[in-house]
């Protein structure tokens, strides 16, 4: 069971807001603090591990960049939205970030309500109001990728990928910004 404070977002929240382009080139451990720096400066600093994002339509629209990974690294336990962009959803599967499509979710929560999520059954309950909604559950094949810790972990286990290279060796392009 996932239980977390809810942060609310509207429709069409895009990947460039989640992970701004210049941040893609920063060391992965520095990336999470830039999430939503253009539209909600300071927000990432207030997120606690286990928090949940509740959004309206078309969450994660945009590019193939690892926006799901950076939300996971920030500590987001689950994204629940009226609808989720197909590419972003696939990245959620592959980076092992629970994400549910759930009709009516946006109106069922206020900011900082607590969501109780049974991910396997895809049910989401608002602890304050008691209201429960049913989302679209993940099929077993996708849950397996999540449980394996994501697709890259799976590829490593199956011998397609070598070990993780430590990020100390990766670049640190300068970035202007907030």
């Amino acid at each position: 069971m996932i239980q977390g404070r809810v942060w609310k977002f509207g429709s069409d929240i895009n990947t460039d807001l989640i992970l701004p382009t210049p941040v893609i080139f920063k060391p992965p451990e520095e990336q999470p603090r830039w999430v939503f720096s253009a539209n909600r400066p300071g927000w990432a600093q207030g997120v606690q591990p286990g928090d949940v994002i509740v959004a309206a339509r078309n969450f994660g629209t945009g590019s193939g960049r690892p926006a799901a990974r950076v939300l996971k690294d920030l500590g987001i336990a689950c994204v629940v939205a009226e609808s989720i962009n197909g590419l972003f959803f696939r990245n959620c599967v592959n980076y092992a970030l629970p994400a549910l499509e759930c009709a009516g979710i946006h109106d069922a929560f206020d900011e900082l309500d607590v969501a109780e999520i049974d991910f396997e059954r895809a049910t989401v309950r608002n602890r304050r109001t008691g209201r429960a909604l049913a989302g679209r559950p993940w099929p077993l094949s996708l849950r397996r990728i999540l449980e394996a810790g994501g697709l890259l972990a799976l590829l490593r286990t199956e011998g397609y990928l070598g070990p993780v290279v430590e990020s100390g060796t990766v670049g640190t392009a300068p970035m202007a910004g907030p």
Partner: protein, 432 residues
């Protein structure tokens, strides 16, 4: 009940007679295309690819950060080159004459094979649907998975069919038709789109690709055209692979069928930050002064687009204080634009013609915006911060509108400039 184009391709790739919307299917991947960002260690792949299923079905294209924009990019490109050599990947598009933006390369080299599945990390991969190919951006890990195993999965989506009828007004292009769709119907999340009808058949392959590429902006899954003689001739000339296109069954099941009279559409503009329900005719945008104009990207870096931009600026000057940047979709297009005198016309007008790269489209290099600046762009995306500072404003329009705006220094309807030049066009039409 019949099948849509996407359903037919997925069924075939899954080795099944039919598939139903809602189910998850595992499919054979015809081509897995990796890009330079695949090798940027901070992006996702902090490990080596040890083996791939079939190097002949893997393509590597360098596009986002070429020529290397900094040392980090240079290191990533170096890793990519090493991977291509070690895994024996012959279809490798490094900086040089066969380099370009991946979706343009996929089109130009016949990697988009009708009736097959193609995947790539990049979101605009739906572009290849113009060639009757079920193509989809799948993100970094999945593209590597597809290269390694030769397979991927899709959730079969319902389909919306667009019937394009009529003939477009003067100076109205595929980009305007897309902006009309995005403004009228908004997002198409978890939905395929099919484009059919008399105008779909009349469109050039370049124009079809503009339309399918832009479908990433409305979160469509697959965006497909039928394969006609134009498509088949194009692909046959570029690949020895046998292929079998798909057409929708007459009794295919659609979530909606929408008829568009393309003759009723005026030049359109998307206002800053999104195209979704955020577009209007140029005439309704008001007086918007610009600092930068851009024609390029996987959607609008085609020869059609460069020719249109050149036609608009021919014999005119880019307005003082405006940077007009033009980026061909591939080096082959650059070369052809040189041959046709388009590069010269553009450069004489004051435009900058760059090498082929994603560059300005994603604010990566060659044309990022400062805070407070305004850009009108014939590229794909205008999210906040997309082309540089989050405090810049980015409007999206067609190449004709962008070029006309570059000349005027404000966003204008291109017909205002083009109409006055009709005699000149008649002369240039007879030139070789």
């Amino acid at each position: 009940m019949g099948l849509t184009m996407a359903e037919k391709i997925l069924a075939r790739a899954a080795g099944r007679a039919r598939v139903e919307p809602g189910e998850i299917v595992t499919v054979e991947v015809g081509k897995a295309v990796l890009i330079d960002l695949s090798f940027v260690p901070t992006s996702f792949l902090r490990s080596e690819i040890l083996r791939v299923k079939d190097p002949e079905r893997v393509v590597i294209v360098f596009d986002h950060i070429v020529p290397a924009r900094d040392v980090q990019s240079a290191e990533a490109l170096k890793i990519g080159r090493e991977v291509a050599t070690r895994l024996g990947i012959r279809r490798f598009h490094d900086v040089g004459p066969d380099q370009g933006i991946c979706h343009q390369i996929i089109a130009d080299y016949g990697y988009a094979v009708p009736g097959t599945v193609l995947v790539c990390p990049d979101s605009h991969t739906c572009s290849a649907g113009a060639f009757n190919c079920a193509a989809r951006g799948v993100g970094g890990p999945e593209a590597v998975y597809a290269a390694c195993t030769g397979q991927t999965w899709f959730r079969v989506a319902p389909t919306i069919r667009y019937l394009l009828e009529g003939a477009p007004r003067f100076a109205v292009s595929a980009k305007d038709i897309f902006l009309h769709i995005a403004g009228t119907w908004g997002d198409h999340v978890n939905t395929n789109v099919e484009f059919t009808g008399p105008y779909a058949a009349a469109m050039t392959l370049d124009a079809r690709r503009t339309l399918t590429t832009m479908c990433a902006e409305i979160s469509a899954e697959f965006a497909l055209f039928e394969a006609d003689d134009k498509t088949i001739a194009h692909v046959r000339a570029r690949t020895s692979e046998a292929f079998e296109p798909v057409a929708p069954d007459p009794d295919a099941r659609y979530e909606d069928v929408r008829t568009i009279d393309v003759g009723a559409i005026d030049p359109m503009v998307a206002l800053p930050d999104t195209v979704v329900r955020n577009t209007r005719p140029v005439a309704e945008v008001g007086d918007v002064a610009i600092h930068q104009a851009f024609v390029g990207s996987c959607a609008n870096g085609t020869l059609d687009d460069l020719a249109m931009a050149a036609r608009v600026v021919k014999g005119r000057r880019v307005a003082p204080g405006v940077r007009f940047i033009v980026t061909p979709g591939s080096q082959a297009i650059y070369l052809e634009a040189l041959r046709r005198g388009l590069v010269r016309t553009l450069t004489e007008s004051g435009a900058i013609v760059t090498s082929s790269t994603c560059g300005a489209c994603a604010g990566l290099h060659l044309g990022a915006l400062a805070a407070g600046e305004v850009c009108v762009t014939a590229s794909t995306r205008n999210f906040k911060g997309r082309m540089g500072s989050p405090d810049a404003k980015v409007f999206i329009a067609s190449p004709a509108t962008v070029a006309a705006s570059a000349v005027r220094g404000r966003i204008v309807d291109p017909r205002e400039l083009l109409r006055r030049k009709r005699p000149a066009r008649a002369r240039s039409a007879s030139a070789p």
